[in-house]
């Protein structure tokens, strides 16, 4: 019976000394620094809440991109097998107008505004952050409004053949993301006025920035498929 007791004490806390080398150590030394921070392989990083949250959010965006990928797969699949009846008679597809190009340029360049904004916040330049952030909000809003106008002027609707089905669902789903991004940005801006040094908003700002880049990258693919193909 004494054995039992010694077992219990032996097992509690698992503090046996077995200093066998940690196997991952060997290839870990080849990882770049940022990746090491991003992927803690030895455990024990639970206290780094910011890193943890950004990791989780990145993983979520990976997942989100698969939804877009499934839409793009559908679009490409339909387009390849049904190119003949893609456009119903008398209907022209989405046109690559100067209007669309400007809109695209504005959306894509907003990535280059939001990133300095995030950096400014990291360096505690609150005012610079707010200005750049506000500009991003305007750019995103411009994109939404101009896409709304484009939708109104198109000569086909959601149920007009495959072109309508795919165009509205793809741009609509992307637009929903832009809208979400803008709402997130507005929230962060408002929050930046509420808290003195705005430390708490930091994860939100980083996540919003990441999300905004994501929305932009997706648009590159959608734009090429919908307008250039």
């Amino acid at each position: 019976m004494a054995n039992n007791k010694s077992y219990e004490s032996m097992n509690r806390g698992v503090i046996h000394v077995d200093e066998s080398p940690i196997p991952l150590e060997r290839w870990r030394q080849y990882l770049p620094n940022w990746l090491k921070r991003f992927l803690p392989v030895r455990g024990g990083r639970a206290e780094d809440h910011h890193g943890k949250a950004i990791f989780g959010f990145t993983v979520f965006l990976l997942s989100e991109s698969i939804v877009f990928l499934s839409f793009i797969f559908t679009y490409v699949g339909l387009r390849l097998t049904h190119s003949k009846n893609w456009l119903p008679p008398g209907i022209s597809g989405p046109e690559l107008s100067i209007f669309v190009i400007i809109n695209t340029v504005i959306l894509l360049s907003s990535s280059f505004v939001i990133q300095p904004a995030e950096n400014a916040l990291k360096h505690h330049q609150l005012n610079k952050f707010r200005w750049l952030w506000l500009i991003t909000i305007c750019m995103g809003t411009y994109f939404l409004i101009s896409q709304g106008i484009e939708w109104k002027n198109l000569d086909f609707g959601l149920s007009t053949g495959l072109v309508g089905s795919t165009f509205y669902v793809l741009t609509g789903f992307h637009g929903l993301h832009v809208l979400t991004g803008v709402i997130l940005q507005i929230t962060m801006l408002v929050r930046s006025f509420r808290q003195g040094n705005y430390e708490k908003g930091h994860f939100g700002v980083s996540a919003t920035t990441l999300f905004w880049h994501f929305v932009d990258i997706i648009w590159v693919f959608l734009f090429s498929l919908l307008y250039l193909w």
């Binding site: 054995n3 039992n4 077992y7 219990e8 509690r12 077995d18 990791f55 989780g56 939804v67 499934s70």
Partner: protein, 554 residues
């Protein structure tokens, strides 16, 4: 005997004092885990009830117990509930409970998100089941919901069974994605100091692999269902063959998720085998590293095999060949697993407590499930038995005889840890034998039935099939009865069971080093891990065998 003095019988927090937690919006991963497990078990009972109705209909060749639309609804909701509201969320529940304990964390990475993931499920499940009340009944196109059949609804009814089905599955999917984000982050970021990847139990490896699959593949189902919903209600034409759409694209998106989903369900079960088999054979887990890596291997290969569900969907020959080969490749890492389990219990003294019975039964049944699976991966054979009961028999050997058995093994194995009480061994054994006999009696007959050509999803059939069908129905009812001793055992043991010590099986995982049940923050002090798991070969650990311990207790 005087053992009672030497065993710690005072768990820190008594479940009797805090049962209310289990009905509240708690952010404790242990409470959430139990909430998941209890809720999914209720759905399991509902899904089982539907199965009984299906089996009642199939005793006789005629269609006489339920009408055709209701029969369609029965198998559709049975399959849907069993997959999306029993096995997958149950795994999320048990993983929720165990992963932080096994890696030495105080909680999941995002506790609030965790609670939200859970609380999405009960309303979604209720929504799904409520569709029985709709004038046109539930969805009727099977759990695949293939268009164009799923789009054939009475005109002018925007709220119909199919619509409800899509909405609830999308909601459940969102819950799963949030859960997966949480699990992956937890496993990467919350491990105790020294808990490297190759010191994690195989169960954690399996959960990691399964949750990565959720992240990468589940969104493709969500995407497909969103498009299906647009086709159904908003006049788009993605999947409508009469309007230029292409239903085959739906099949691709659907199976891109739903094949890996098999492994999302099965990998945690494999992980459970890897925990239970060593503990009851007092052997170290054979080939720990290869078993850990095989989990990831299975996950990766399973992403590239989905077309084997579409061999008969006008799939071109080269694609059939390609996916036949990749499908058969899955057998390699899976074989590594099966070999590891066998080698672990090889020539050891087995302790046949209930968890071990369920684990061995499940692992053995996986043999038949796996072999029939490899048979199905062969194109010529698949074309012969496509959409027959052979398929139904095959996947039930996996989902019931392997995975559900593994789940029962897990419930019995961790019951003392979770509740701080022992279950009644005798009733556990009764439960096992009823389940084991019932499961084989139910699902084995489906294999010859399918080979003879009995098609699935039909409520009336050629009388020459009746013999095997009677057997299957009897087995099904036996399975229905088999849950009664289980429920009685669980409820009875919760109320009157003996106190369990912290480590009744003398197992080696970190979860056994804390109290039963564990305190709110899991560990008094975060352990520092300095050795790999599964030290059963170590004589220090084998001094007392779980079997002896049990006798002392009684």
């Amino acid at each position: 005997m005087t053992t009672h003095d030497s065993i710690d019988t005072t768990p820190q927090n008594d479940p009797e004092n805090n049962w209310r937690h289990y009905f509240s919006f708690s952010t404790d991963h242990k409470v959430i885990g139990v909430q998941y497990m209890v809720m999914t078990f209720i759905f399991f009972l509902i899904g089982g009830l539907l199965a009984m109705l299906i089996r009642a209909e199939l005793i006789t060749p005629a269609s006489n117990v339920v009408d055709r639309p209701l029969y369609n609804g029965l198998f559709t909701l049975h399959g849907t509930i069993m997959i999306f509201l029993w096995i997958i969320p149950f795994n999320a529940g048990i993983s929720n409970y165990l992963v932080p304990l096994m890696i030495g964390a105080r909680d999941m990475a995002f506790p609030l998100l965790n609670a939200i993931s859970f609380w999405i499920l009960p309303p979604s499940g209720l929504l799904l089941i409520s569709s029985f009340l709709l004038p046109n009944g539930t969805a009727q196109s099977g759990w695949w919901s293939y268009p164009p059949i799923s789009l054939q609804i009475p005109p002018g009814q925007p709220i119909n069974g199919e619509f409800i089905w899509i909405v609830s599955i999308v909601l459940i999917g969102i819950s799963s994605i949030m859960g997966a984000v949480n699990f992956v982050t937890t496993i990467f970021w919350m491990r105790a100091p020294g808990m490297t990847f190759f010191r994690m139990p195989v169960f954690v490896w399996s959960v990691l692999s399964a949750q990565l699959l959720q992240l990468v593949n589940l969104p493709s189902l969500t995407g497909a269902l969103i498009l299906l919903l647009f086709d159904l209600n908003f006049g788009t034409q993605f999947f409508k063959p009469l309007e230029n759409g292409d239903p085959i694209i739906y099949q691709h998106l659907f199976w891109f998720y739903s094949h890996p989903a098999v492994y999302i369900m099965a990998l945690p079960a494999f992980g459970i085998f890897a925990e239970v088999l060593p503990a009851f054979s007092r052997n170290p887990l054979f080939g720990y590293r290869s078993l850990a890596v095989a989990s990831l291997g299975i996950a990766v290969v399973s992403i590239f095999v989905w077309v084997h569900h579409m061999f008969t969907s006008a799939t071109p020959g080269w694609m059939r060949m390609l996916f036949m080969v990749t499908s058969m490749l899955v057998a390699v890492p899976t074989g590594v697993k099966a070999f590891g389990w066998t080698a672990t219990i090889w020539k050891s003294k087995l302790h046949l407590e209930t968890p071990m019975l369920f684990a061995m039964g499940g692992a053995a049944m996986f043999l038949l499930g796996g072999v029939t699976g490899v048979m199905l991966a062969a194109v010529p054979f698949d074309i012969h038995v496509h959409n027959t009961y052979f398929i139904v028999g095959h996947f039930h050997y996996i989902v019931f005889n392997t995975i559900t058995m593994a789940i029962f093994a897990a419930i019995y194995f961790w019951f003392p840890k979770i509740t701080g009480r022992m279950y009644a061994e005798g009733w556990g054994k009764v439960h096992f034998w009823l389940t084991f006999i019932g499961a084989n009696l139910t699902f084995f007959p489906m294999l010859p039935l399918g080979l003879q050509g009995m098609v699935r999803r039909i409520s009336s059939y050629d009388p020459r099939y009746q013999g095997w069908n009677i057997l299957a129905s009897l087995g099904g009812f036996l399975l229905g009865v088999s849950v009664l001793p289980f429920i009685a055992n669980i409820v009875g043991s919760l109320l009157y069971g003996q106190r369990a010590s912290n480590n009744p099986w003398l197992a080696t995982g970190l979860e056994w080093t804390t109290t039963s049940p564990p305190p709110r923050d899991n560990f008094e002090e975060i352990p520092v891990v300095k050795r790999p798991p599964y030290d059963y070969g170590d004589p220090k650990y084998s001094v007392i065998e779980p079997h002896d311990y049990h006798q002392q207790e009684n």
